[in-house]
């Protein structure tokens, strides 16, 4: 495997879904290739960075005007 081929398997490797023989070749390359090792670390950190960057958003409060707009819209819905 060369670096280009390794890059195609990064997602499966990170998700632990690589087939055994590919997994062994992948790790064998990784042990010898500093550049692929570093790229993998950045790939993993990128996923985490995205998750952490968006985490704070979820704590945001719902604006009262949106609550009222939703409740007004719901009050117009037909009741069965």
């Amino acid at each position: 495997m060369n670096c280009r081929e390794i890059s195609q398997f990064l997602m499966e490797y990170v998700g632990d879904t690589l087939e055994r023989d590919v997994h062994d070749s992948f790790e064998s390359h990784l042990t010898a290739c500093h550049n692929c090792h570093a790229y993998l670390a950045q790939y993993r950190d990128t996923i985490l960075a995205g998750q952490l960057a968006c985490k704070d958003d979820d704590c945001s409060e719902v604006p009262e005007e949106l609550v009222q707009a939703v409740l007004t819209a719901l009050s117009k819905e037909p009741r069965s």
């Binding site: 997602m11 968006c54 719902v62």
Partner: protein, 194 residues
């Protein structure tokens, strides 16, 4: 009010229960819609659409998932419907953000692990904002899949269903989207050499 009481009230169309749901989950739903739409007005409209749909289809909720999970999937759908309705702008090619290789298969550039743990970097507000801006910069096709899979936590199959494509296409878009995001944030993170 516990989940069982909320479920019962939701299915019955109880106004008080719906107000509780809006106040309890509206903030998180608005955050999801903002991430997809990047427009406050559209995001609020998507949340409103989501609650109206939740009300209309309330009897389909059987309580086999948490109400928060059910509302989460509804607001994602509402936001994506609004996104699709917008005039599509020409997308920048994802290839511009992907790693380049030499003819012998080696990377065309050198990389080093970021020296600072990413959770430390992301504890700074400006870094967090930089990453959010980078996600917004991704070409839409890829950004949507990165958001649904990595941020909203949907499975490959759920994402494929929502964006109307195959699970394999979702995997390809996710991998390319992650690599593109790495390219965009790497220059801003400690120890990056690219």
């Amino acid at each position: 009010m516990d989940e069982a009481a909320l479920t019962e009230g939701l299915r019955a169309g109880d106004d008080k229960v719906f107000e509780t749901l809006v106040r309890t989950y509206g903030g998180r739903m608005l955050a999801v819609a903002r991430r997809v739409l990047h427009n406050e007005e559209d995001a609020r409209d998507a949340v409103q659409d989501a609650f109206i749909n939740a009300f209309r289809y309330r009897e389909s909720f059987k309580g086999d998932a948490l109400i928060s999970t059910w509302l989460h999937s509804i607001v994602i759908n509402s936001a994506l419907m609004r996104l699709r309705a917008r005039t599509r702008k020409a997308e920048e090619a994802i290839e511009n953000y992907l790693p380049r290789f030499l003819p012998d298969g080696h990377y065309a550039e050198s990389f080093a692990s970021w020296t600072e743990p990413v959770d430390v970097s992301l504890s700074r507000k400006e870094t967090s904002e930089m990453v959010r801006r980078a996600i917004e910069e991704l070409p839409e096709t890829y950004r949507t899949v990165v958001l649904l899979r990595d941020i909203e936590g949907l499975s490959t199959e759920e994402t494929a269903q929502i964006v109307n494509t195959t699970p394999n296409a979702v995997k390809i878009r996710l991998h390319r989207g992650r690599m593109a995001l790495r390219t965009l944030i790497a220059p801003h993170l400690a120890g990056a050499t690219s």
